[in-house]
Structures are given as structure tokens and as C-alpha cells.
């Protein structure tokens, strides 16, 4: 049985590296990784974002502009709204001649400590010129935009894995070769597994290559593998279905591209929407996969947390599987 699964996989691999479209897909993780590396160093996102109330204390704002990115708001209300958005934005709010720090809760400790310290420095009247120490790198070494891009790309690659599978299924359909396979002692399960391997290997190796090339190699690879594996399941299922119901590569690819919508929705939700909107994305496996990846890329997720996210993705994929599996079986007959 394993011999047959392997035979089916090797055939796909042989065809895929000779075919322009699939070869292109196989190379995408590397292209993305290089693109991310070229693009992100130019983004200056290493400092903290601070929010102030306009005209309240211009001296303070000028002071802070030396160390942080500053935004001003008309009143406390608008400032508060801004802080509540998902990204890292810390409010500096006056109250009875003092200042306190307003946070939403998702800001990193580093950012909060940094803001506190800046405020402390200001209050003691220290200036950059008269400080003997240098404030070198309080921010993160990795710009968050890079992490977002890597995370999104890893999930994007899992969708491409589905596309790769659908290309190979469409090939079998166009050549009408599934009926020939059905006349050999190869079970449907072996066929499906054999056809899945190329997608699984692509998602895993592509994801890992991307993570390494973009400089995230120090993260826990085991955890990232778990998240990649579970988030690839849905793409594989959709890849099979689209391969079986479409007679040409382009329409199959176009249908699979629809999977990018929930992926993008998940990324935007996590990065931009405030907490109260998050629950509207709980149905979306990419949402959980994205959050899981984020923890791993932050190096802040414990195995327990990662497994919970992976478990949710697996559960949601299971529901999709229950719906799609009979259709896939039927399509093979």
C-alpha cells in the first residue's frame, strides 16, 4: 500500500517539476521569502506608537517625538477609540497634573515598559543630549509587519498546496486516467493519500523555508509544523473537490482562490479589529491558525496554547471534512 501511495506521489512530483504552472507554485515560498526580506527592512516600525491629546502639552509631545512615533487626537474619546484598535498604540493621558498610561491589553510588555520609562525620563527632565546612556533598542528586533507577512504567507502557502493538488486532479480528469487507476488493486484511500502528499510536503517545506529565510528560524519548529499541518487540511480538501468538479485548471484555480478571502479576513481581524468583533471570526479556521502562528512567531506561545489553537483548526476542518469527503469519494467513481 505504501509503495502505491509513494508511486502516485512520485508521478505527481515528476509532472509538477516539468510543468510551468506547478513549478511556479513550487517556487512561490522562496519568492515570497525573498520579497519579504527585501521589503520589510525599509519599514521603520521598531518604535512604540504613542497617542496624545492635541494641544494639551506640546512640550511633552515634542520630547516624545525624539523616541517614539506620535499621534495626536482631539479629545479623550477619539484617543480612546484609537487605543482600542488592535494594533499596538499606547495612550498618554493627563489626569490631575499627572500622566497615566492607557492600554488596550494586547500591547507587548516591552512597549508598555518603554512608554513608562519615557514618561519617567520626561518627568525627571532628562534630555537626549544630557543623557549619558544611549537608548538603543527598546523596541522589538523584528518589525511586526514582517511577522504579519510571514504568518500570512505561511497560510497562503497552505492554500497553494490545495491548488497544486487540484492541478494534479484536473490532469487525471482531462486524461481520464482515474478509471484506469480504478482497475488496479489501488484503493481510493491510497489514491487520495498519494495525491495529497505533494500538497502536504509543499506546505510544510515551503512554510519552513519561508520561516527560515525570513529570519524566524529560532522559533519552535515543532509548533509551527503543527499549525501548518492542521491549516493545510482544509486547503487539501478544497483542492480535491475543485479538481474533481472542474474540467480545466484555470476554473479550478479560480475557485480555490476564494479561500484567500477567509484568510485575508482573518489577518485583518486579528490585526485591526477590536476585541469585541473577534468572535465573528471564530468560525474561520484561518483565524485560529493565524493566531496560533502569531504566538509561535512571537516565541510567546506555550505548547498548551498552540495545541488549543491547532485543536480548534482541526475541529473546524473536521466539520468541512464530513461535508466534503463523500463528494470526493463520489467524484472518484
Amino acid at each position: 500500500m505504501f509503495k502505491k501511495i509513494w508511486t502516485i506521489f512520485l508521478r505527481d512530483l515528476k509532472v509538477n517539476i516539468k510543468d510551468f504552472l506547478s513549478l511556479y507554485i513550487l517556487l512561490i515560498p522562496f519568492l515570497f521569502a525573498i520579497g519579504i526580506n527585501l521589503f520589510t527592512p525599509s519599514i521603520n516600525d521598531t518604535t512604540v506608537n504613542l497617542a496624545f491629546i492635541k494641544e494639551e502639552n506640546n512640550q511633552l509631545v515634542t520630547y516624545m517625538e525624539q523616541f517614539a512615533k506620535v499621534e495626536e487626537f482631539d479629545n479623550l474619546e477619539t484617543l480612546k477609540e484609537r487605543v482600542e484598535r488592535r494594533d499596538s498604540m499606547i495612550g498618554i493621558v493627563p489626569e490631575e497634573g499627572q500622566y497615566y498610561i492607557m492600554i488596550e491589553g494586547n500591547e507587548s510588555d516591552m512597549d508598555i515598559e518603554y512608554s513608562k520609562m519615557l514618561l519617567g525620563l520626561y518627568e525627571t527632565g532628562l534630555n537626549i543630549e544630557d543623557s549619558k546612556t544611549e537608548i538603543i533598542e527598546f523596541g522589538r528586533t523584528i518589525p511586526p509587519i514582517k511577522k504579519t507577512l510571514v504568518n500570512t504567507s505561511v497560510l497562503f502557502i497552505s492554500i497553494l498546496a490545495g491548488m497544486l493538488i487540484s492541478l494534479n486532479i484536473v490532469e487525471e480528469k482531462v486524461d481520464n486516467t482515474i478509471s484506469a487507476i480504478n482497475l488496479t488493486p489501488t484503493s481510493h484511500n491510497s489514491f487520495l493519500l498519494g495525491k495529497s502528499i505533494i500538497g502536504i510536503i509543499f506546505a510544510i517545506f515551503g512554510g519552513l523555508a519561508l520561516v527560515y529565510i525570513t529570519g524566524f528560524g529560532a522559533v519552535d519548529i515543532g509548533k509551527i509544523l503543527i499549525i501548518i499541518s492542521v491549516s493545510t487540511i482544509i486547503s487539501i480538501l478544497v483542492g480535491f473537490i475543485q479538481g474533481l468538479i472542474n474540467d480545466d485548471i484555470m476554473t479550478a484555480a479560480a475557485s480555490i482562490k476564494l479561500l484567500f478571502l477567509p484568510l485575508i479576513a482573518a489577518v485583518l481581524a486579528v490585526e485591526i479589529l477590536s476585541e469585541k468583533w473577534q468572535r465573528f471570526l471564530y468560525w474561520n479556521p484561518f483565524y485560529w491558525a493565524y493566531k496560533g502562528n502569531d504566538l509561535v512567531l512571537n516565541k510567546s506561545g506555550s505548547w498548551g496554547q498552540v495545541l488549543i489553537y491547532a485543536g480548534i483548526v482541526l475541529f473546524l476542518s473536521g466539520i468541512v471534512y464530513v461535508f466534503l469527503a463523500p463528494k470526493i469519494r463520489k467524484g472518484l467513481e
Binding site: 509503495k3 508511486t7 515528476k14 484506469a180 482497475l183 489501488t186
Partner: protein, 284 residues
């Protein structure tokens, strides 16, 4: 080797059957021809017997395996050449055969020998997508014998091939049969059936009209055809008539009465004419 009992098949799973109450048996070592016009249900029956189509109603047994409950092992023992070639266009002829061979659990034949058998040895490394229709058909044909099947299904094995290649294929079929392989052959070509088959079944509109050996059929219907050349409205016309069917007799009498006869002689009926006579239908 094959036992079929009260077999029905409806593609839409309704009361309109494309195969109706089909019964027959094929003995071990026999070449059994399944003959009928296009759309008669030949491929449908063959697909049920190879497990490609699910059996809904009736019974069928192939090589000792019950088709209602197919064991994967059966596929090590049977082979089928498809009516429409189905090979991977992106693989070469050789790669196609090598890949297919690995999917069996039994010893398989050397792909190169097989290609040689149908004159494709020079094209072994050419992608099947660049093959002509006939070349693809030959590749599909030899692929079906890669696992040394004891039960061999052939759907229109010579259709669309040039005469010399068709002759080669016929020889391969005869040779395999001599080695003991049982063959189920589907065709609407009566000549190949006449040449190769021990017995034939005539199938029309999903129903079997008759099963017998070509020899018996000819004895029964032979010498009973009259071929006439006559002139009608200044045109030369050639036609043949049965001497037992009343309708034919009437027509023949009318021609003799009304037109100028050029030649007229009795002859042995061809399988095709017998088919038309028995089923009242042409073969195309």
C-alpha cells in the same frame, strides 16, 4: 469465468434501463463477442463487469469474484483496454507503463516488451500527449495486459486503427487466448467478431437478442440470402434479401416484377447481415 444473471442498469437510477435483463455466461478460455450498434449498452455492461460502474440490479460474477462485493484482488487478475484511450499525456509512453505496473501486486510485464508488441518501441520516450490517436489507442491496449490478466476485457480494440495494426492486434488477441486467457470483446465491427470470437451475443437497446457461435449462425442463416443487382431509374442497385423473412420475400418479388435484373445469386450471409436480420437493426 463470467456469469451474468438478470442484470439491469439505469444511469439515472430510474425505471428507464440502459441495460435490461441481460443473462449470459462466458467459459474459461473463450473469446466472447459482445456485438451491437452504438448506444446498445456494450460499454455499460463491460463497465459493470470491471467494477467501474456499481451493480444496481441483478447478479454478476467475474473470475470467481462477486461484483456486488468486489475484492481489490480481482484487479490483479483482470485487464481492460478502454474504448477511449486514457493515458497520461504529460508522461512518456514508457513512463506511463512503468507507473501503471507499480500499482499491481502481481508480477508485471516488461514495459519495453509491451511497446515492441504494438510497434511503439521507437516512441518509448515520447510524451503520450504528442501521440496520434492510433498510437494512444495502442498504448492503452498494451497497458491492459501489463499484469498478465487471466480475464481480459477489450472495448473496441481495433476501431480506428489502420488495417496492418489492426491485424497485429488481432494476432495478439489470438495468441493470448491460446495461452488460456479468457476474452470479453466489445465491438460493432462484425468482421473482427467473426474472425476472433467463439461465441457472440447480439445486443440492441440494452437487451441481448441472441447468443451463438458465428458458425452456427451462418449454418442457420447461411445460403438463405439472395444478392441482386438490378437497374432502377437508370441506376445500378445492389441489395440482398433473406429468403425466409416475409417482408424480404415480398420486396424481392417486387423487384423481379418491376425492374431489370442484372445478376442474382444466393450467398452465405455475413455476420452483419445476420445481425440485421435477427435484430431488425443496422450496426451503426
Amino acid at each position: 469465468m463470467i456469469k451474468v444473471k438478470n442484470l439491469y442498469h439505469s444511469y439515472k437510477k430510474d425505471d428507464i434501463y440502459q441495460v435490461k435483463d441481460v443473462n449470459f455466461e462466458v467459459e474459461e478460455g473463450e473469446i466472447f463477442g459482445f456485438l451491437g450498434p452504438s448506444g446498445a449498452g456494450k460499454t455499460t455492461v463491460q463497465n459493470i463487469l470491471t467494477g467501474l460502474l456499481e451493480i444496481h440490479k441483478g447478479q454478476a460474477e467475474v473470475a470467481g469474484y462477486d461484483m456486488k462485493n468486489i475484492s481489490k484482488d480481482m484487479f490483479n487478475k483482470i485487464g481492460m483496454s478502454f474504448e477511449q484511450s486514457n493515458v497520461y499525456s504529460k508522461l512518456t509512453a514508457l513512463e506511463n507503463l512503468k507507473f501503471y505496473a507499480k500499482l499491481f501486486d502481481v508480477e508485471t510485464r516488461d514495459p519495453k516488451d509491451l511497446l515492441k508488441l504494438v510497434g511503439l518501441e521507437d516512441k518509448a520516450n515520447m510524451r503520450a500527449g504528442e501521440f496520434s490517436k492510433g498510437m494512444k489507442h495502442r498504448l492503452t491496449f498494451v497497458r491492459s495486459m501489463i499484469n498478465n490478466p487471466i480475464m481480459w476485457f477489450l472495448d473496441e480494440p481495433t476501431t480506428g486503427l489502420d488495417p496492418s495494426i489492426a491485424a497485429d492486434i488481432k494476432n495478439i488477441i489470438r495468441e493470448k487466448n491460446k495461452q488460456g486467457v479468457t476474452i470479453f470483446l466489445t465491438s460493432h465491427n462484425m468482421f473482427i467478431a467473426d474472425e476472433l470470437c467463439h461465441r457472440v451475443a447480439f445486443i440492441v437497446d440494452g437487451e441481448i437478442k441472441l447468443i451463438d457461435s458465428p458458425r452456427n449462425l451462418k449454418l442457420q442463416y447461411g445460403d438463405k440470402m439472395i444478392e441482386v443487382d438490378y437497374i432502377k431509374d437508370g441506376e445500378n442497385i445492389n441489395d440482398s434479401f433473406s429468403t425466409i423473412l416475409n417482408e424480404d420475400k415480398k420486396k424481392l418479388k417486387e423487384i423481379i416484377d418491376n425492374y431489370e435484373i442484372q445478376t442474382m445469386h444466393s450467398k452465405e450471409a455475413s455476420l452483419e447481415e445476420i445481425f440485421i436480420k435477427v435484430t431488425g437493426r443496422g450496426l451503426v
